[in-house]
Amino acid sequence: MSVTDNLPTNQIVYLRPKGGRVLIPEVILASIAPYVQNSWNKPEAGGVIMGRYIKDCEDIVVDKITLPMLGDKSGRFSFFRNKKSHQKVIDHEWEASNYTCTYLGGWHTHPEPVPTPSFVDKNDWKRNMKQDFFDSNCLFFMIVGTAEIRLWEGNKHKNSLTALNRI
């Protein structure tokens, strides 16, 4: 039996620390599924997350993700995301959505059932919060394990990371 049998296929909803929720819809999970590192020869994969800040509340809906593209480099235990190609998608989605589908953060895979961020991951996320340019206070980081998908919310001002719980 493959451990990915446990990976959720229905939508996932995470609770944010100060209220509000983050929705990862089914269609997003389906596009990630082929990259789950559930066999020894699958390399690490990743991309950026985009979506909507819903009006009049703290809820967020993930509407788009990018998949590995030309210029990215991936190994079994590492993934390097090239900024140019992913930036193009971000620009296009933002303009096509009347400036509502915005950059939310990044995702990558781990070859372990319940993923935890590595030292490299945490440093990268903190650097993203400092050096990326975006119109909000926070970014979201998703790690896709073989049995679980986990999400962290990073706060730009507090320079903090919080693991979000599922509802």
Binding site: V13, R21, V22, L23, P25, E44, G46, V48, R52, Y53, I54, K55, D56, C57, D59, I60, V61, D63, F77, S78, F79, F80, R81, N82, K83, H86, Q87, I90, D91, W94, S97, N98, Y99, T100, C101, T102, Y103, G106, H108, S118, V120, D121, D124, R127, N128, Q131, D132, F133, F134, D135, S136
Partner: protein, 353 residues
Amino acid sequence: MADIQKYFTKFHEAIKLKRFEENSTLVEKRDIILNKLAAGLKKNFEDKDESVPKYNWFNQGSYEMGTGIKPINSDYDIDVGISFKIAKDDYSDPVDVKKWVYEALVGHTKRVEVRRPCVTVFYQKEGETEYHVDLAVYSDEECNSDGKKYLAKGKLNSSSNNKVWDHSEPCKLTNLINDHYSGDDHKQFVRVVRYLKRWKDNNFKIDGNAAPIGIGLTITSYDYYTPKKDLVDVFANKYNYNDLSALKNVVIRMISCFATYYDNGTSSERLKTYLPVEPRCDVFEKMTDNQMADFKKQLNALLDALNIAEDEVDPVAACESLQKIFGDDFPVPEKSDTAQKKGPAIITSSASA
């Protein structure tokens, strides 16, 4: 939670029928009928050398209650009460009095019928019934020794025990509905009634008694509705109304009030709801047990859709769930209408492990 209320408000705007007096076309049609009735009565009675019966008329039904909705698979109806200044005891056969109305109007359109509770004039346009006027015929309370108003019931060929004068309080019912809660709470009550009526039109067949009748849904809402709103500004005393929550509350209470009734060794599960005025009958009594079972099944489907919409993070998906149950008049917004506009973003490269 996302703001779904504005989509309920748009839905309500799309389905509501204005009060009768605000709808000039229907007022015009009604007045033509009333003129025709007056002229017909005058002629028929003068031809017989009898004095023309006196009466007054009044609007009744959902327009007067402010609970009317635009029909989707049936015609518009206009409800008028005709209250004759006669004592019911002088007319042992109430259908004789309905015949006065019938004979004054027959031939006015292709189809005029004496139905059990009223006399109905159907108007057709290109073969389809466009609207109909129901004239309920009463013996006026001023003329009865007990001071009560009576509705003439029965068809032309009904047996005598199906021809009755029924104590009836149409104006009292209209007033009860109109005075149920006040101000914005009353408006939410009326919206809930309209949502249920459109849900009914969208989910039940129209033939026979397959669907719960509109007045039945109005009375159950009257019985079960409580205002649902959140205080958003203590100083301005400003509330945000939550129609989803108000409707859900009524639906939950309706479902929980289904009960099993035993009669002659058989049992049936029914929702019984009684008119709060005379004749105080069960408004759903004409539905069969199978129709009742379908009614409950549909209520549960409505509750499921409301729960999904309430829990859903994405307002687009929430509205899609509601559109499935309420039909195309429930709006589904574009994704971009549901989100805040954001400035540009510029990413750096990223290395993960």
